[in-house]
């Protein structure tokens, strides 16, 4: 007989606040008719909800001891690891939503006025003329963040799937909503959606196999069943590999990365910023929990997979990033390489990964949002002086350091952080990841990672060379405009300050993550 599970609402307050605000936001879409008012209200609601959720999570952090709370019929846990990811995801969400709201000085948004119109059609022009605004993106972002928070807190393969879809579907939509180059945007979204659906299917198949072998969907039971069996059933291994494939897809690791360059390039840049930081964080959070609880007994069987994917991601990501001429695609491939670095921390299955991975994601996410926030502000300028699309061709950034020293310096800082140069957050992140790997005996992998870092530095530095060492070509002097909105500026300053702070004095945050380095299994 079915018994309704006992739901501990208090424990899940942060997620509930975010999802509820998302639902309210959708209602507001129907109620508020004026576009401008609606935008302000939606932004306020989204920010308010996420700040409140983060506040609640912090209060919970202070009140929970290491034991945390297991709730929802054993499907979700609220331990400090989950709370740490919650706060991180909310921070990414807040910064991302701020970017959503940024507009050019001419009042142009990043999103298409009406998603349902065909690109280049009469309807589109009409929607534009009437000043329509697409404010659904705010509730969509809230749903995505809520789904990601669940993703990081679940200890059950089925709940993991539900959370995966909750955060993926809004992302598919948001990717398709670019204002300019809409066909590219649609293409990116479609690829993302199709490949995402494909990987979801693989994941589900894997879950079915695991269920068939163990008779349970909960991480703890699966782990216990694996240990209990005297012989390794191929069902386990195949199931586990398929489950990991689904998660590695979200992480953007090679060979499951093919969606990322197109989705990154096609999506409106604020969405790219949010997606790049938050999706990767959520994927890493789920991967951490799955690998360190459910599949931990399969350590030996899965190690080769992690090593292979890590090496492939680092090498392929780095090599392909080297040849890109579009900035968004370059950052997309760099994010693929970073997925490899994240996996380096997993290799060796050292418990250090439980604090190293969240820290790495924090540093990576902040720098990513910062870099894309800079990108939204550098725009092409037409002959008649109207400010157009973002200047994403590398060559267009030549000489930016002379015209906008502070903005270019911030971009340089984010790039140095990606490259892992000391005194930036990225260095400490890399140090932690390498430490976790070496602790687990995976030092050959670290060696590969180090060589890839050196090669990767080359394309990060290439942009710095362009910005600071290259003189602006005469004909280009007038074709670039730095058009900033206070929101975008604020995001750049916040992320830049955080990258420096985490690079010089990471002690406090490291301690927090060390406190979070125990996992509840939900038993």
């Amino acid at each position: 007989m079915f018994t309704a599970p006992e739901i501990s609402y208090a424990a899940f307050a942060p997620t509930i606040i975010v999802l509820l605000a998302g639902a309210v936001g959708i209602l507001l879409e129907a109620i508020i008719r004026t576009h401008t008012t609606r935008r302000h209200v939606q932004l306020g609601l989204a920010l308010g909800a996420m700040v409140a959720a983060a506040g609640t999570a912090i209060v919970q952090w202070a009140t929970y001891d290491a034991a945390g709370v297991v709730a929802q019929a054993g499907m979700f846990v609220m331990d400090r690891q989950a709370l740490a990811w919650h706060v991180m995801l909310l921070v990414f969400g807040i910064l991302g939503v701020l970017l959503f709201a940024a507009r050019t000085r001419a009042g142009e948004e990043a999103f298409t006025p009406l998603g349902s119109t065909a690109p280049g059609s009469e309807d589109e022009a009409e929607a534009r003329r009437r000043g329509f605004e697409l404010t659904e993106v705010f509730p969509l972002a809230l749903f995505a963040v809520g789904g990601m928070m669940l993703f990081a807190a679940t200890v059950d393969f089925l709940a993991l799937f539900v959370a995966l879809e909750v955060f993926s579907l809004p992302l598919y939509i948001m990717v398709a909503l670019a204002r300019r180059k809409r066909l590219l945007s649609h293409e990116g979204a479609l690829k993302y959606f199709l490949l995402g659906a494909f990987s979801s299917a693989i994941y589900l198949f894997g879950v079915a196999l695991l269920y068939g072998a163990t008779g349970s969907l909960s991480y703890a039971d699966v782990a216990a069943a694996i240990i209990a069996l005297p012989d390794m059933s191929p069902l386990f291994v195949i199931g586990a590999v398929m489950v990991l494939v689904g998660l590695l897809f979200k992480l953007g690791a090679v060979p499951f990365h093919t969606w990322s360059p197109d989705a990154y390039q096609g999506a409106p840049t604020p969405v790219t910023a949010f997606m790049a930081a938050a999706t990767k964080a959520a994927a890493a959070a789920a991967l951490l929990r799955v690998v360190f609880t459910a599949l931990f007994p399969l350590e030996w069987e899965l190690n080769w997979l992690i090593w292979t994917v890590a090496i492939l991601s680092m090498v392929v990501g780095t090599v392909l990033a080297l040849v890109q001429t579009d900035l968004k695609r370059m950052l997309a491939y760099s994010s693929v390489a970073h997925a490899g670095f994240i996996l380096v921390a997993f290799a060796g299955f050292s418990p250090q990964a439980l604090s190293a991975v969240p820290f790495y994601l924090l540093t990576y996410g902040l720098a990513t949002i910062g870099a894309f926030a800079v990108l939204t502000q550098v725009r092409e300028k037409a002959v008649d002086g109207t400010v157009g699309a973002e200047a994403t061709r590398l060559g267009q950034w030549a000489g930016l350091g002379k015209r906008e020293p502070l903005l270019a310096a911030s971009m340089g800082l984010f790039l140095l952080s990606f490259a892992g140069i000391p005194l930036t957050a990225g260095f400490i992140g890399k140090f932690q990841a390498f430490a976790a790997a070496i602790d687990g005996g995976a030092w050959p992998l670290v060696f590969v990672a180090v060589l890839c870092s050196a090669a990767a530095a080359f394309f990060y530095v290439r942009l710095i060379v362009l910005m600071f060492f290259t003189d602006v070509p005469e004909d280009q002097e007038e074709s670039i405009e730095v058009d900033y909105h206070p929101y975008a500026r604020v995001v750049v300053w916040i992320t830049a300050a955080a990258v420096i702070l985490l690079g010089i004095l990471p002690g406090g945050v490291l301690t927090l993550f060390e406190d979070a380095a125990t996992l509840l299994t939900g038993l």
């Binding site: 140069i421 000391p422 400490i428 390498f434 180090v450 060589l451 530095a457 290439r462 600071f468 060492f469």
Partner: protein, 497 residues
């Protein structure tokens, strides 16, 4: 006690921040600010010299320690023994001279000038920090972070090839640095661990296990060999030397490259004595190759800046030979040579820079017969050149002899071959002098300006110091004897086994 070292690091860093923030109108004054800061640093350095307890030159003095990132075992731990102090004094001495030498480089573009000086000050902060670091993590962080100001110094200021040079420099340094990072991370796990895991004092004497020790040693050594630079990982230096500003190159070769040999001396030998002894024969072979190869290539250069760069490759070979011979005299000699080479090569780069500034060419073939037109410049050039070929009476001679004599007992062949390098040095110095300054005066060079007062002020103190230490070497060697003696027994005990 007054925190000398932290102040020495913080002061130029603050100066750099001020220069970056200087409003448009005040940027013309950047030179004065930068010179003032570096002179103040120099005064502090001299005060340190007098306060330093020579009786225990081998122990760390002026020590400071604060917890920095206890979670990963890193501390802000500074302190110097004779080695560190000599290097810091060298850095403090050369920076104001380099600023003075480039006094007129940016006339007409005050913004550019203030940026350049800000980066120079920032580099000085890093240099002092590295030579004073008593914590491996701190050392590493500064070692890598220093690349940023250097990269901008090379890439933003200098000749047409500067972007290529900057990237080449960065990639070489990063490869070395990142390989070293693996070693640094590994050190935590094989070492004592804990809140002060990276303190050199805590790591010293730890048994890491033979394999681990050798691998970590190699990771560190590669980084230092690239920095030093040794053949075959030296190729970035000539590229940088010919394109970067002369002041940048002077600082780079005279001081920053010493971090390579300094690291070998104070990290490799101290932390990994067994591995150092194990690798010494191979390293000595590479050192000897550097000596000869560097000298031969120097003879073949037409570009004077490249020439000086290759002579340095040769000289660094001698230092490495001295260090890895593990003899008291040779190590002392190498440490002393690190200081002298800074004076000699720094002066050589600067005087070549003055020459280039007059004619706009670095090509030896564009010169001839300048002796008659600018006798003071010619004389100054000759003395500095002679210091590079280790003429007796000038301090580089003393240190070179110490290395060769000290190492002779253990590595006869290496010493004999390296001595050839000294003879080759005579060739490249004297041939260059002959081509540039003797013979009939070339057309267009008759009105070349004589060395100005400012330029004399830059070069003559360096010459004076080389003469002083050439005749009274014990003034400097007293600082280096004890730390050298402290390094040796650790290694020789391993050799004896």
């Amino acid at each position: 006690m007054f925190p000398f070292l932290t102040v020495l690091v913080a002061l130029p860093a603050a100066g750099a921040a001020v220069l970056f923030a200087l409003p448009e109108g005040a940027r013309a004054r950047a030179r004065e600010v930068a010179l003032g800061v570096t002179l103040l640093e120099l005064v502090l350095g001299v005060v340190m010299l007098t306060q330093f307890d020579l009786g225990s030159a081998g122990t760390q003095q002026f020590t400071e320690m604060y917890s920095w990132i206890p979670q990963i075992g890193a501390s802000w731990a500074l302190g110097v023994n004779g080695f560190g102090l000599s290097m810091i004094v060298l850095a403090l001495l050369l920076t104001p001279l380099v600023i003075l030498a480039g006094w007129r480089d940016d006339e007409g573009d005050a913004t550019r000038g203030s940026r350049y000086l800000a980066l120079v000050l920032l580099s000085q902060a890093f240099m002092v920090g590295i030579f004073a670091a008593r914590d491996v993590f701190l050392f590493y962080v500064l070692f890598e972070a220093m690349l940023i100001p250097l990269y901008f110094l090379i890439g933003s200021f200098g000749g047409a090839q500067r972007r290529y040079a900057a990237v080449k420099f960065l990639i070489f340094s990063l490869v070395g640095g990142l390989v070293m990072l693996v070693g640094v991370v590994a050190l935590y796990f094989v070492g004592p661990g804990g809140e002060h895991a990276y303190l050199i004092d805590n790591l010293q004497g730890t048994d890491f296990g033979t394999t681990a020790e050798r691998l970590i040693f190699l990771a560190f050594f590669l980084a230092f060999a690239i920095k030093a630079p040794m053949v075959p990982v030296h190729t970035w230096l000539p590229t940088v030397a010919e394109t970067a500003r002369v002041g940048t190159t002077a600082l780079l070769v005279a001081v920053l490259d010493k971090i390579g040999t300094f690291g070998m001396l104070t990290l490799c030998l101290v932390l990994f004595p067994e591995a150092s002894a194990w690798a010494a024969p191979v390293i000595i072979v590479f050192a000897v190759i550097s000596v000869i190869y560097g000298a031969l290539l120097a003879i073949g250069q037409r570009d004077m800046l490249r020439l000086v760069a290759f002579t340095s490759v040769s000289h660094f070979g001698i230092m490495v030979l001295g260090i890895f011979a593990f003899q008291p005299t040779s190590v002392e000699g190498a440490a002393f040579y690190m200081f002298n080479h800074g004076l000699s090569t720094g002066a050589l780069f600067l005087v070549v820079g003055f020459l280039i500034r007059r004619t706009g060419s670095a090509d030896v073939a564009d010169y001839g017969g300048l002796q008659k037109v600018v006798p003071v410049l010619a004389g100054t050039f000759l003395i500095i050149g002679l210091s590079a070929l280790a003429l007796p009476g000038l301090s580089p001679f003393v240190s070179e002899i110490m290395v060769l004599v000290g190492a002779f007992g253990v590595a006869k062949t290496a010493v004999v071959i390296s001595a050839l390098g000294v003879i080759l040095a005579a060739l490249y110095v004297l041939l260059t002098y002959q081509k540039v300054f003797t013979g009939p005066t070339r057309e267009g060079l008759e009105s070349t300006r004589e060395l100005s007062v400012r330029e004399r002020l830059v070069l003559w103190p360096l010459i004076g110091l080389m003469l002083l230490l050439g005749f009274l070497p014990s003034l400097a060697i007293d600082y280096l004897r004890e730390p050298s003696a402290d390094v040796i027994p650790v290694v020789s005990a391993e050799v004896a086994e």
